[in-house]
């Protein structure tokens, strides 16, 4: 009986780690691409909310998580396009535009949710689990890691693709150059604006997907303001991982652990106020920032619009 309990506990714990990590990881992937190209996206929180809301609405309407995910990604992409237009092409202040997009995202999703769903508060079921033969028989891990939905594996694959893209392709190289020394990229015949636009679009897409994952899979419903700072934490993850995707995975995983610890505590006899549990990830992230204050890094050209010829 007690063995059962421990195993069940382990399964719940691991599932909670994954549910906490993946939305943050997705958002951080996008933010990493953006920051590496020299664009700081403070609107990521709003983009996640919009992605999450749209994904939720579409999933409810179509009954398919796939359509929901896709719609969430597209909604994020649209936000990214707006951000690219304002901040990259027009060179508007990235911080102000970012804050505006976050506020707008919070306001719009909250108003829409209130109008459409506040009476019924609908919830979604679980997406189909993709049980992997043999591996899913491993105790604890089988029922958690190897029984996740296809989206989990796609998220991990996306991390691999982004890592490969940044390190081994010419567009990835140009992306880094745009954040390090945009004038140099320009002189070499690359387009700073185009490079950064792609990066911002990718950032929007991943923020939308992150929000969608959070609403559809991690939570099973959308609620106003549900990101609760995950978008900002994604910026910290990016700063701490210095453009290396494996560190994005590690730091997101640590965040997921803190979330899971909170959930786990509720299952045990230790009673901890939910306020403490909610604060916990922020305290951990802040502590990491304090400890690694010297190690956090942003590209030299971050936040500065590129104007040809201006030195």
């Amino acid at each position: 009986m007690s063995a059962m309990l421990t195993q069940q506990f382990a399964v719940v714990f691991i599932v909670a780690v994954i549910a906490g990590s993946i939305p943050l990881m997705l958002a951080s992937l996008g933010e990493t691409v953006g920051e590496q190209s020299g664009v700081l996206n403070l609107g990521i929180e709003g983009m996640m909310l919009i992605g999450g809301y749209v994904a939720f609405a579409v999933t409810l309407a179509s009954g398919s998580f796939w359509w929901g995910m896709l719609a969430g990604g597209i909604a994020g992409l649209a936000c990214g396009a707006l951000f690219a237009l304002l901040s990259v092409w027009m060179g508007l202040n990235q911080i102000v535009v970012g804050i505006a997009i976050t506020l707008a995202g919070e306001g719009i999703t909250s108003v829409l949710y209130d109008k459409e769903y506040s009476d019924t508060s609908p919830r979604l079921g679980l997406p189909d689990a993709l049980s992997i033969p043999l591996l899913s028989k491993i105790p604890a891990f089988g029922e958690s890691v190897f029984s996740q939905s296809a989206f989990f594996w796609m998220a991990l694959a996306a991390a691999g693709v982004v890592a490969w893209w940044l390190s081994s392709t010419n567009p990835g190289l140009r992306n880094r150059a745009a954040g390090q020394m945009p004038a140099s990229l320009d002189a070499a015949g690359g387009s700073v604006l185009r490079t950064r636009s792609w990066a911002v679009l990718a950032g929007g897409l991943f923020a939308g997907l992150g929000g969608a994952y959070l609403a559809l899979i991690s939570t099973g419903a959308f609620t106003p303001f549900m990101t609760n700072g995950v978008g900002y934490i994604a910026i910290i993850v990016t700063m701490l991982s210095r453009g290396r995707i494996r560190w994005v995975l590690v730091v997101s995983g640590v965040y997921g652990l803190t979330i899971a610890l909170g959930t786990a505590m509720q299952l045990t006899t230790i009673s901890l106020p939910t306020d403490v549990i909610q604060m916990f990830p922020f305290i951990v992230v802040m502590a990491m920032l304090v400890i690694y204050a010297r190690g956090s890094y942003v590209p030299p050209a971050l936040g500065t619009p590129y104007v040809r010829g201006a030195r």
């Binding site: 911080i95 108003v111 910290i236 304090v290 936040g303």
Partner: protein
């Protein structure tokens, strides 16, 4: 002069190119023919239009008139990519290599067509080019690990990466040692033999004669002289020089400055006319085994020792980026020492700050004139007084004494021949040369004994160069001591008594300047130890491009004051109006009649008791706005307002039930307000210290602290402050008679008055005192702040504390005056709502007040009106977001069309560029 060209047509031909910038004609009807296998030298002093011409050939700029022919075909070069495709490669004067990337990665940036990186192909290509250049480069070493000569070879490889027909070398020798110049000469000769057309830009006649097959001289945008291949072959060096000098300075030959300029241009080191070792003079500056800490962007100095005597010029030679900044800043006190000591006239000043060293007669003329030396937005007079802020007789009791300041400024403008319309002109509108004279006037007045000159003539026109050198000589002959840090060997040889050589942060040797091959001896020292020297940072200079910028500002100043105020008003109100219109469209979309709704909002916000409710709401809003202004003016972002407000609120209302019974009411309120301010202020300490010490981005840290604060507040409400008999998580309700008293005859509590008084007080502090001026200087440029002796870390912490205290006070005033209790998870989100209005008020507390009042009415009315139509209150967030968006949009079109002033101080736009030397794009 190898090949002949009689039969061949030019590979690239420049035809009648004219390019104008506001107020300047950079190129006027310039034509050039460039042939394969010919090195074409382009000569001219700074600002003659060489860089513009290169920019046009490289596709960075478009000509206003004229065209370019490639292989006889008229070809437009609309962007750098076309230039690369057409085989025009450029090696710029400043490195374009990305220091953190490998050589191969830097080169592969040119592979714009492929998706996957082709490492193998790139290695093969590099090998081909290396063979052609006659050099070997490690493809996997990072660009920053290469010496300057090697970097230049990589730059040439980069320019030729996709196959080049025309190679442009823009002043390639300006930072090289004589040995590296010889290597470059060899490379250019090989490329020429391979059939490449080369443009070689220089201002050294010697090099032009040695390397060029043809010579063109540019002067004020016009080609004033040409020597073709046949002619040049028949001339000896001396007669070539005479012809070129006549071309460059003809008609002004009687002018003393011109002849001096001619000497400078000739690149002939003269040596000091009367060399005398000043062994007798007392040592005034003594540096012993001084080392600094490394930063990411700069080379630290390592165990440097030197003595400087009165009446002597000690030159510091070295390749740019080898620790010059660290040395200068360590001596000036802007950078702390990790070990070692610094003595001024025998007194240990290692632990002293910038200001106390200034008082002892130490001055520093910085190389970064625009972003460290001056604050462009302040007047010439204030810039001349930048290092006297707060001290008598120019300031008394924190207030500026205008008469004294103006008199002193006018004297200095006269003495140093600073050409400026008046002392109230903004310093940023002056030309580079006049800015440098301003700096010299500031540093050489008020009793200097030891002056560090860092690249004092860099990027200046030749006349000003002469004037600056005279000033330095004059200062030394009056018994001063000068440390001259320069990357220009000729300058060092001409000016210095002794020259020490700096390499990778260490002094590697000393040369007594006795006129015997000094430059060559220094060159040997420089190369001996710098095969793997660090990357030279791309320094910002006051070049011709930056000098063009002011004309726009001048045009602005020409407009009347009334017009400017109108502009400002329009620009401030327009975003609000547009946001309300756009919000109305959205309202319509979700089925609410916008006009009726806005009518209701105004109705509930003003009519009846509405205005009183609005004024009550204004109290916390104004305090939050003031708190934001304090940090924003200093270019710092405090986005932790939500947490700070709630902490203040919970402390005040949580302790109120006990304190208001235990103490007299007024004392209880005072204690509660102070306590709330203190707690909220303390919440900013971690972000402030992280920012001050490590430059950690405060946007993110304040946000994180805010989330933590919200958790702490909820814990307090559910725990110690939980009202005894209630199940709802909230604090005990404060009875009406124990809340803040109302103003007679109204429902408005005295908190409103408190807010107004505090806001006005902060306004006076920010605008009328030397403290406020220091905040503005710090906001405009943290580097200038450091340079003029402002204690930057202290300032960051103090401003964050003030900001947090004000926002905490807002929480106290709001809960003690209006609510009487708070619930868990309650958050009025004042900060985010008020932020756009703070910018619309241009970070001026008084100007922000009407906006705060407007928002108070809007929010008050909105809360009630939206209930009537069943609209969530969060819709107001959308309106705020729209205001922010329209504000930035209008900002965009405003700067495009040069309307009025920006909402956002220039420095703020670059809040993220930590550690970088450069400021915003001009």
């Amino acid at each position: 002069m190898s090949s002949t060209r009689d039969s061949a047509a030019p590979v690239v031909a420049v035809r009648h190119i004219t390019k104008r910038f506001p107020g300047v004609v950079a190129n006027s009807d310039v034509s050039l023919d460039l042939y394969a296998g010919i090195v074409h030298c382009l000569l001219g002093e700074n600002g003659a239009g060489k860089s513009t011409l290169i920019g046009i050939l490289a596709g960075m700029q478009q000509p206003d008139e004229g065209w370019i022919e490639i292989d006889g075909v008229r070809t437009a070069i609309p962007n750098p990519r076309t230039a690369v495709d057409q085989g025009v490669g450029v090696v710029y004067q400043h490195s374009t290599l990305i220091p953190t990337m490998t050589v191969l990665e830097n080169l592969m940036l040119g592979d714009t067509d492929r998706f996957r990186q082709d490492r193998k192909g790139a290695l093969t290509r590099l090998e081909e080019i290396s063979e052609l250049l006659g050099s070997s480069i490690d493809p996997d070493s990072r660009a920053e690990a290469l010496g300057l000569g090697q970097q230049q070879q990589v730059e040439i490889a980069k320019a030729m990466w996709r196959g080049s027909r025309l190679l442009i070398l823009d002043e390639p020798t300006s930072m090289l040692t004589p040995q590296a110049v010889a290597k470059l000469q060899d490379t250019v000769a090989r490329l020429k033999d391979d059939g490449l057309a080369v443009i070689f830009i220089t201002h050294k006649l010697r090099e032009a004669y040695a390397m060029g097959d043809e010579i063109s001289v540019l002067r004020r945008g016009v080609v004033v002289h040409r020597i073709n291949q046949a002619e040049l072959a028949g001339l000896d060096e001396q007669s070539t020089r005479v012809r070129i000098l006549t071309a460059m300075f003809g008609g002004e030959s009687g002018d003393e400055a011109a002849s001096e300029a001619a000497v400078l241009l000739a690149g002939e080191p003269q040596g000091r006319a009367a060399y005398a070792p000043h062994v007798g003079g007392p040592v005034v500056l003594s540096v012993s085994s001084a080392s600094t800490m490394g930063t990411t962007s700069d080379t630290p100095i390592d165990a440097i020792s030197l003595d400087l005597r009165a009446g002597e010029i000690l030159g510091v030679a070295g390749i740019d980026g080898h620790g010059q900044s660290a040395l200068a800043e360590a001596i000036a006190g802007q950078r702390g020492l990790a070990s070692g000591r610094i003595e001024l006239s025998g007194q240990d000043v290692t632990g002293q700050g910038v200001r106390s060293r200034q008082k002892m007669g130490l001055r520093y003329v910085t190389d970064d004139r625009l972003h460290e030396g001056i604050v462009g937005s302040l007047s010439v007079a204030l810039n001349l007084m930048l290092k006297q802020i707060g001290s008598a007789p120019y300031w008394r009791g924190g207030r500026i004494q205008r008469a004294q300041v103006t008199a002193e400024a006018e004297r200095l403008v006269q003495d140093y021949e600073i050409r400026t319309p008046s002392t109230t002109t903004r310093a940023g509108t002056l030309s580079g040369g006049n800015i440098q004279k301003l700096l010299l006037a500031r540093e050489l007045s008020h009793g200097p004994k030891v002056v560090v000159f860092h690249k004092p003539t860099y990027g200046l026109d030749l006349r000003t160069v002469g004037r600056v050198r005279d000033l330095i000589r004059g200062f030394v002959s009056d018994g001063g001591a000068a440390l001259l840090i320069s990357t220009d060997l000729d300058e060092l040889v001409e000016m210095s008594d002794r020259i020490v050589v700096l390499s990778r942060g260490q002094l590697v040797g000393e040369v007594v300047n006795d006129g015997a091959n000094t430059a060559e001896r220094i060159g040997v020292l420089m190369t001996a130890s710098t095969t793997q020297g660090p990357e030279a940072l791309d320094h910002e200079i006051a070049g011709p491009l930056t000098e063009l910028e002011p004309s726009a500002t001048r045009a602005q100043a020409a407009r009347g004051t009334g017009g400017r105020i109108l502009d400002a008003l329009v620009r401030s109100l327009l975003p609000v109006i547009l946001a309300l219109v756009a919000g109305g469209v959205l309202l319509k979309a979700i089925g609410v009649d916008p006009l009726a709704f806005y009518g209701e909002v105004a109705n509930y916000g003003i009519i009846g008791n509405g205005w009183q409710r609005s004024l009550i709401l204004m109290a916390p809003l104004l305090l939050v706005a003031t708190g934001l202004i304090v940090v924003f003016r200093a270019n710092l972002w405090n986005l932790g307002y939500e947490g700070q407000y709630l902490l203040g609120a919970v402390v005040a209302v949580g302790f109120a039930p006990t304190l208001t019974t235990a103490l007299p009411l007024w004392l209880a309120f005072l204690v509660l307000a102070l306590g709330a301010s203190l707690v909220a202020a303390s919440w900013t300490i971690v972000p402030a210290v992280l920012k001050a010490r490590y430059g950690t981005n405060e946007i993110i840290t304040t946000l994180m602290m805010s989330f933590i604060a919200i958790g702490v507040v909820n814990l307090l409400i559910r725990g110690p402050f939980h009202a005894d008999k209630l199940t709802v998580p909230q604090t005990q309700l404060l009875e009406a008679e124990r809340m803040l008293p109302h103003l007679p005859g109204t429902k408005i509590h005295v908190g409103f008055l408190v807010a107004i008084v505090v806001a006005v007080g902060i306004h006076l502090l920010l605008t009328r005192t030397s403290f406020g001026l220091r905040v503005d200087i710090f906001g405009a440029s943290p580097r200038t702040a450091l340079h003029v002796g402002i204690d930057v870390p202290w300032m960051i912490v103090v401003l964050f504390l003030i900001s947090g205290a004000l926002i905490g006070l807002a929480g106290a005033v709001d809960t003690l005056g209006l609510w009487g209790y708070i619930r868990a998870n309650w958050n009025p989100a004042y900060g985010a709502a008020i932020m756009p209005f703070v910018f619309l008020g241009r970070l001026n507390v008084l100007a922000t007040m009407p906006f705060v009042a407007f928002y108070a009415v809007l929010a008050t009315g909105w809360a009630i009106a939206s209930q009537d139509v069943g609209l969530p209150v969060d819709f107001l967030l959308v309106i705020i977001a729209l205001i922010l968006l329209f504000m930035t949009l209008i900002e965009f079109f405003g700067t495009r069309r040069d309307l009025g002033e920006s909402y956002i101080p220039r420095g703020l736009r670059n809040a993220w560029r930590r550690g970088s030397r450069s400021g915003s794009p001009a």
